[in-house]
Symmetry: D2
Subunit: 348 residues, 4 copies
């Protein structure tokens, strides 16, 4: 019963099968493999973007940091949520890759609002050469607290960015979960809403380690390639990245896996609502839940072998009814049976 993250489950069998299938004979290295051609074509189709530049890297942080460095000068600032992965969980990778750009935190909530974004943008670049210049806006979709921006919300944020001439990046580490939740197309959630570049995640949703970076305007494609190589993120045996993404896109595995994860999450929400004292404290639009459970429930779950992050407090000692916050994440590989076991354990 592992609900700690969507980075600890196994890779989907179709992904492994594609790697095995790719492991035949010789293949051109460094992204010139035939499978990459196929992947590029398929992503352009999915995104309805025949000119898009498409690249693969192995980690989400690489996708974000390289995309942002390509979009952002070192004397600029990136606008993002205070809970954004690029701010909280990348150990200064965006600052590193951009050669010292800044991150300006927008508002104080998980989801940025157009008003807060406008205020943040207007607050910068009022001091001429003295302050940082305005750089791109980065939207995290799914957010780090489990919320999904609607297409209209993304468009509203992008409209603010565009009104200042700024680029828009979408950190889609959980892109598929968001799209599955919204029931929209990939194009609607991105360029049709004003997004310029996307980190399109595969790792958290059934792959071993692969993320696509997509620029809808290919003008900076070559610069990105150089930055990727300089960042040591260009794989020589690139076919193994390509094969993962090939399987991920084939027969909509990405959406199938995301729907399953989202459904897992919904079942878990339903179950938690039947646990005495449990409170859901966040939006649960996709595959992530923030909740508070009584200490006794945590103790029973720990005894049953459940694994997840308890975010504050001591599970072992204290008032049995005291609520302790936790995070629960479902990936594609969770089964309904596991969820039912989890809920049963929580109830005791």
């Amino acid at each position: 019963m592992y609900f700690a993250s969507d980075n600890a489950g196994p890779a989907h069998p179709e992904v492994l099968a594609a790697i095995a299938a790719a492991n035949q004979g010789y293949a051109m290295p460094y992204g010139a493999d035939d499978i990459m051609d196929e992947v590029r074509t398929r992503i352009r189709e999915i995104f309805e973007a025949p000119e898009a530049a498409v690249y693969l890297v192995a980690t989400g942080t690489a996708a974000n940091a390289l995309a942002l460095a390509t979009m952002c000068a070192p004397y600029e600032t990136v606008f993002c949520s205070p809970t954004a992965h690029i701010h909280e969980d990348e150990c200064n990778a965006p600052e590193f890759y951009s050669a010292g750009a800044k991150l300006t935190l927008v508002g104080t909530q998980d989801q940025m609002t157009p008003e807060a974004l406008r205020t943040a943008i207007e607050g910068e670049e009022t001091r001429g050469v003295h302050g940082p210049q305005r750089g791109p806006v980065s939207i995290t979709q799914v957010t780090e607290r489990g919320a999904v921006y609607t297409v209209a919300e993304i468009k509203a944020l992008a409209d603010v960015a565009k009104s200042f001439g700024l680029g828009v990046h979408l950190d889609g580490a959980r892109f598929a979960n968001a799209q599955a939740a919204l029931g929209c197309t990939a194009a609607e959630m991105t360029w049709k809403a004003g997004v310029d570049a996307v980190s399109f995640g595969g790792t958290k949703n059934g792959c071993m380690g692969v993320e696509a970076v997509i620029f809808f305007d290919p003008a900076k494609a070559w610069e990105f390639e150089l930055r990727r190589k300089r960042g040591a993120h260009l794989f020589s045996k690139h076919r193994y990245l390509s094969a993962q993404m090939q399987a991920y896109l084939a027969d909509d595995l990405w959406l199938r896996a995301a729907r399953q994860a989202n459904a897992n999450c919904a079942r878990l929400v339903d179950g938690l609502n039947t646990v005495a004292g449990a409170v859901i404290t966040s939006r649960t639009d996709a595959n992530m839940i923030f909740a508070e459970l009584p200490r006794a429930a945590h103790q029973r779950l720990a005894a049953a072998g459940a694994r997840y992050y308890v975010l504050a407090g001591d599970v072992e000692t204290g008032d049995a009814d005291a609520l302790l916050p936790c995070r629960l994440v479902c990936d594609w590989s969770i089964t309904p049976e596991l969820i039912d076991q989890f809920i049963a354990a929580a109830k005791g």
Copy 2:
């Protein structure tokens, strides 16, 4: 009547005289000049720090960015006020010099409190390798909104930093104004209170362009020298930096000039309190005032040739009684007569 900043007045005649005096014959370049030896000795005396490493640079941003880069690894974060010069007015110089460190803003006020600092520090480095690591604390003294931390307040902040094993930097672009306001010694305001490194400003207080960087522990002296050279801040004809600082320290010019600037500011505060409708909106501990004046007063001042920053609103058009915020800064060169003229103009 120029009250826009303390960076637009003339240099003190004693500083110019020292430069002229230094302009004789040959002098060793790159900091090996005899005057620098004298400056180093004098600063060590003033700070009661016989082992301190002492360097000169020409800008306050260079002093701050180089000092912080020497104290901070690129995967760390610097704790500072949201109004700190290093955050707002250095166009990402700290991020640049540190190779991509982050700045964590402490609280939402001009002055950091020990509680807010502790909360900010505890908020970082809770994610192991994923988030930035805790780096030094930077205190701006005088703050960018005109406040002076007491020695006890500095000590309280430094105590928090030390309890986490973090270094403490003091951005003393207006060091002399702060010390003059507090009536303490330089040692009391720095190392005796727990400060490890100081940017000791001269430029805003009567020099042409010189700041000292002082490390009380000389362990990183050589690294600083290399970073200064690599940053292109090592002057070949260094004697002209030395001479400025020599004059600045001689006969306590630094304190004389600061006392004069602070007294100017106090006189201006007194005067503003007699202007109908005027409101002082900040602390005025040193030589800087944030105030709101009726539009009509701004119009009269503009007509009289007064120069200062109006921070919001249109001076020329609108309700005559409406209050518009402004910043007024006094440097050493302002005369009582000028202040009286200013107040007279404001009153009309």
Copy 3:
């Protein structure tokens, strides 16, 4: 018949099998997986270095750039061969990761000599703060021109480095091929000879994409971890890196595969020596050959579908007897039959 590089052949079946075996259930992310514990233990055994810090990354450039950045301050210079991969083939990754360190090229030959290294080191840091400071020495083993340093040669280079107090890095992208060629132990080729840190390559020798970085002194282990994360090279689903390395080390696959590649290369050398006009122009100590073949031979090989780099000249047009230089690389997957076909095609 693909002899262009050792980065285009398939991964070894044992590596794929290990990945499939690892793909069961949940595993701790970010390097905390059990297989990594096993890998760490095994590498420490192989290198007879029970205290060594061991990390995995996915590309050779990441291994080199991160290791060097951990060993080298930004105001220092790395000493390396003018043909070193870190100089020629990493698109400034070492300069990037080190925040602007320099590379000083040692001599003009593929292999550094102790004399040339001493001269290069003595040539730097003669200008105090003005020039770059002396940083680590990086040895490429196998070299980019196919030569293998003997243990004594490595020790002689390391002795020079140590006499100046400098660290020693070994770029072992083809570590196994070198060790197989020398018949020594891993310890003899590294720390017993004075090497401080190793990039231990797996990718070119049968893995999909994995390299170990080994520091024999673990003092900088945590700094390396932070730099790896900041560089976006920490894998969330780390088990798939671990599994590759696990298989690579099991039953000496690394040495088996390397011996096979080296034997392939020797067979190819023997064959080339029977091709009229062909000249071997480099050392062929491991699995790489630089040679000159008559244009007609190149034409016959192209017609037969052989793939390799022709380094200068136009294969299609010109004097049939003219010699054109080329590079031929054998990986583990080449068969004796393929080599015989290649030689037969070259002869026509």
Copy 4:
């Protein structure tokens, strides 16, 4: 008798007088001072470049590093002489400011030749994304070994650069000495010959510390301003930089001072040619001499108080006739009498 460098003599009295004259009343900070307007206009006139972007910084390294960083992406390489100041004497400042670009050394001589430059350029960017991309060419005029490129030679180098689409930077730390030696115009030595950006030195030729950076195409002017601020090289009390440059340009002080320095050098060359055993070992086109003098002559000079760099060997002990190499630099402030004293001392 100080012949060690042109960075140790006094500033010209006209420069000091201009600073004193500028020290009246209030002046707009950060480059918005009226004197800067005058300087910009005057430099545009001198260079016959009415659109040029003109900036001042305080050190030659800042001028070079900032200009090159504006011209060069971090994944590119700068082509320069192996003796270039940017390579040998800036402690990796170009690598730092460019965020990790490389320097490719052209040939093995002090002066680059078009052939060597072409070879160097052709040698890069032959590996696609793997090697650094071709960046700007930097020409040092006067070279670090005392030679002056003719206008035709500069044009020939720039023609090679242009044929590859590369920018051309001229490090003119001794621009005036070069122009005085050539008897050409500033335009002829720069944009008319194909130069895009110039570091126009004042510090070594009578100023305290000021260099102009000139971009003939102002397209990157704003980027340069941001880089200058971010590098901490924007002076708040900018008028003191402006005043130095104002004096330097007024009544052709720059050329007067340079002619005097060059004449000093010629007189010293003539004198050395009369010292028994002395050999001039470099070109002496401007104000710098590399020579070998008998040890006994060095000893007599040392006894007489002469100061200059002896580049190898022990002056005090050894064969009296043995030749020891040295560098002698004349600045504007050297007098014919001093030179005659020097020669007399050398002869004994």
